[in-house]
Symmetry: C2
Subunit: 359 residues, 2 copies
């Protein structure tokens, strides 16, 4: 495999393992598994899910839904507050496949009812504590009013939430507490509305909760996405093992500064995004690993990306790394946030030298 | 103009004004003007520069050099430490156009001398205080040794530096002090080597210095890039007026939360990147402006993007904005870092409804 510029390496074995593990977990807990495809955005990686028996997916934009519909996916939830400005793109796609949309407010439902005659399958987006979007899980009146706008016209599929607040948690216990709180609130909602709407389901599913939790009481469907690759953020949260991270950026070394123990790589903000973790107050944009012909290995002495500009990355290197590195070498960097890095890199390379697409 | 999803608007009039102002400044100070095209990465915006008399440009990768060479640019400096792994791409392109490269270390020169027989036009990259890459401006011995490796084989064009430390400055005075220090160091280098290499030049050029400075003593060439658009970061640094910022992201409103004075937009980390400024300790990923049919206007009461996930943006809104906003509206967001936002958005829309490309 020849690498001459920043390239996102995919360890297919780890990726497959992550997928099959989550498929098994969903099955064991009798959950509908509707993985979020926004992390990988790849038709070929989607095929691994399909082989594992998955036939329902989640995406976060109408464009992404179109992309996967073209690849043969026929049951897609767009887990993003309905963007009424894309109503015609939505109508066109809903002709072809089963499309579920999110209603996140009464105002949105009121607008939408006047805009289309096509029957919608919709979830009510509920805010169970993340406070990003959706109707407050405890404001039953508002939820009831919103559903009633669509009564007889559209098909109410259930309640959906995303507990993104698990990403800010500081321990596994805190993640499990958020998961428990969310499950309790969602279950209460279902109990309240099930007589009136006997087919509704509860859909949740951030990667931290789905990976760590073993109790899914009250939940019918999960939609994790990031678990397909994991990343340094998930590892730091205690959600995955380092060896479960399935992507690694390969970047050429272009300059070395022995006086500062720094290595300059071709790989910057346009490859990694600018998300970082804090290591004892120091910014960490990615961790350096040793690349091998079939994968990568963690170093005993840590080196990490401390600074990014548009195309430059600066590694603060261990003595061990400084002693062996040379200009023209390729270093591996485990990204902080794999969704953002994959989006910027635009494709994947596997260790059998195949290129996989990214939307 | 119909906007249905996140779109980067370009105010052509402001952009042209920024370009002509910098062209005039370079002319007045008898400087070679070699603008950095990494900010806009657009063939059509490049044509505005060409009409203003520009025929030399700067880019930051061999891919970007190929892109602009295909559009007819024949004198390009790749202002990035030479990536020896792309030697064959370099050789192919150097057949067609005048290409200048950067030598940032002795080790890089030693590798390169064995790799190609093609005559290179090279600059020595000097670190004048930014401490990202390049040879220490005061380490004359190392600089001399590096140049001597190439003696008789390649063409020494001069010394090049990027004072990216101006981006961390806290006042105009501090920017001007960095500019002055850099100029002094670079001038000393030229004085030292000019007898031996009578044709060498000094090339500098970050946007803050080039915009604010009036004294370019010791400098022969400038390479600013960001000034073509400016952004919130440059405004905050005191480098540009708010009305000189030439790009603005237009994003659909998809949810509104009156209890928290928050607006959810379709526009997230995959559109803006995740760079932020701090407003009294609060993260600011972009400032909300009022869009009109021909441009945008700053609001008296500030509202800004306080949080981004992959596709969601959360605006912390003023009462004024809350009172008038509705789902399906389009809001304007002035980006924190225009280079990163333009790279993610992938194209521009002008107010006469034309689409401009981005590499």
């Amino acid at each position: 495999m020849i690498i001459t510029k920043p390239t996102l390496l995919l360890d297919l074995q780890k990726c497959r393992k992550n997928i099959y593990k989550m498929v098994a977990k969903a099955k064991k807990n009798d959950l509908i598994f509707r993985p979020h495809f926004k992390t990988h955005q790849s038709i070929q990686i989607g095929e691994i899910f399909r082989k594992a028996g998955v036939d329902k997916i989640t995406v976060s934009s109408i464009g992404m839904a179109q992309y996967f519909a073209d690849a043969g996916w026929e049951d897609i939830t767009i887990a993003f507050p309905f963007n009424i400005l894309e109503i015609s793109e939505f109508e066109e796609l809903a002709e072809k496949i089963d499309l579920n949309v999110l209603i996140s407010s009464k105002a949105s439902a009121e607008k939408l009812i006047t805009l289309t005659n096509r029957k919608l399958n919709y979830f009510i987006e509920v805010d169970a504590g993340y406070h990003r979007s959706g109707l407050d899980a405890e404001n039953l009146e508002q939820i009831e009013n919103t559903i009633s706008i669509f009564r007889n016209k559209h098909i109410f599929k259930g309640f959906l939430t995303h507990s993104g607040n698990t990403y800010q948690a500081r321990s596994k216990e805190e993640i499990l507490k958020i998961h428990k709180d969310t499950s309790t609130k969602m279950k209460a909602l279902k109990d309240k509305f099930i007589d009136q709407y006997p087919n509704i389901i509860i859909s949740t599913g951030d990667t931290p909760s789905c990976t760590l939790a073993n109790d899914f009481d009250g939940i019918d469907e999960i939609r994790p996405g990031n678990f397909v690759f994991f990343d340094l953020m998930q590892y730091n949260l205690g959600v995955c093992k380092f060896d479960e991270i399935a992507v690694c950026a390969a970047c050429p070394v272009v300059d070395i500064n022995p006086a500062r123990n720094q290595i300059v790589i071709y790989g910057g903000g346009v490859h990694f995004s600018k998300e970082y973790l804090l290591n004892n107050g120091n910014k960490n944009f990615g961790e350096v690993v040793n690349l091998t012909s079939s994968g990568w290995q963690r170093s005993e002495k840590l080196s990490w990306l401390t600074s990014l500009s548009q195309e430059h990355g600066i590694i603060q290197a261990s003595d061990e790394l400084m002693n062996k590195i040379a200009i023209g070498d390729i270093v591996g960097i485990i990204p902080v946030h794999s969704c953002m890095t994959a989006n910027l890199m635009g494709s994947y390379k596997t260790f059998d030298d195949n290129s996989l697409d990214h939307k």
